[in-house]
Symmetry: C2
Subunit: 167 residues, 2 copies
Amino acid sequence: MNYQEARDKFISTWGALGTLWGINKAMAQIHALLFVSPEPLSMEEIMEVLGISRGNASMNLRSLIEWGIVYKVNIPGERKEFFASEKDTSELARTIAKERSRREIQPTIKVLKEVSSIEDDGTKKTRELIKKTKELYDLADTADTMLNKVVDQEQNWVTKTLLKLLK
Amino acid sequence: MNYQEARDKFISTWGALGTLWGINKAMAQIHALLFVSPEPLSMEEIMEVLGISRGNASMNLRSLIEWGIVYKVNIPGERKEFFASEKDTSELARTIAKERSRREIQPTIKVLKEVSSIEDDGTKKTRELIKKTKELYDLADTADTMLNKVVDQEQNWVTKTLLKLLK
DNA sequence: ATAAAGTTTCAATTATTTTTGAAAGTTTAA
DNA sequence: TTAAACTTTCAAAAATAATTGAAACTTTAT
């Protein structure tokens, strides 16, 4: 497998994974491309390599910037804008985990708390609803806390110890 | 909030979360409904509560069964089939984690391994591709291992210790 | 054997999401 | 200031995914 084949395979796999996780293909592929590019790329180059339109590139770059995993880069002497991905893999993981937690998990946890707090009228079905949503609340809350702590402190002793214990 | 409001809020939130994670709404909602139902439900009842067609109910129930989180239940004296969700929350989490790992993470890890194993031709871009995909490989592999171990042994001392350390 | 009850399948429809492309907007250099 | 270079926006089109509904299929009771 040569460079281009390997890069394209990575980009297309990353795009397919994104799709499976509710992230659109262009967004995931732009990220993949920037992540493995040693130099920042212009919008033109991104459009070219991925075969996507200007509008598509522009909108998805904006989303990636909102997510905090892509940056605009100014290259001296160049008029146009260049884009680069967050290059530190741990930092990338941290940002994605934080954002997904904030946008998706936390709101769900909030609803689970509300629903599990309804008054127990003594009926079987109400009891079951309260019990199950309470359990999901505990699970989601624990998982969310762990996730955030682990990615936050990827290099600390807790994680290292943990890895030794679990591997 | 009364029972029905609470249940419907839970079902609709679960459906929305599913959508965000690449799971279709009907599938996530059927699961939510069964998860909080004290008794197994017939396809008729599921269609009725969620307002979906017979075909939709049938296909999504099949998917849930393939995922291993919904079961067919035979009720003596009843001709039709009833459906029930896995009721143990830890077991549910374990099954989902295992399945997502198997279907999505493992294939991605495989590609990352392939791509990061291409021959280093000494160019900057090849070096970068190898380096970055290797880092992602390590991250994904570690995360996957941890996830599986943690959900596998939710009650054991490692996890308990871990929670104390991290909370 | 057969008909009623129940389930599955899948082509067609509907809904949703993504992408395009061109017009409008912005920035920069002269 | 102005015009070229570049970027953003968004309505329309295309692509994709979800859903329906009815025919085909299966099971069960008599």
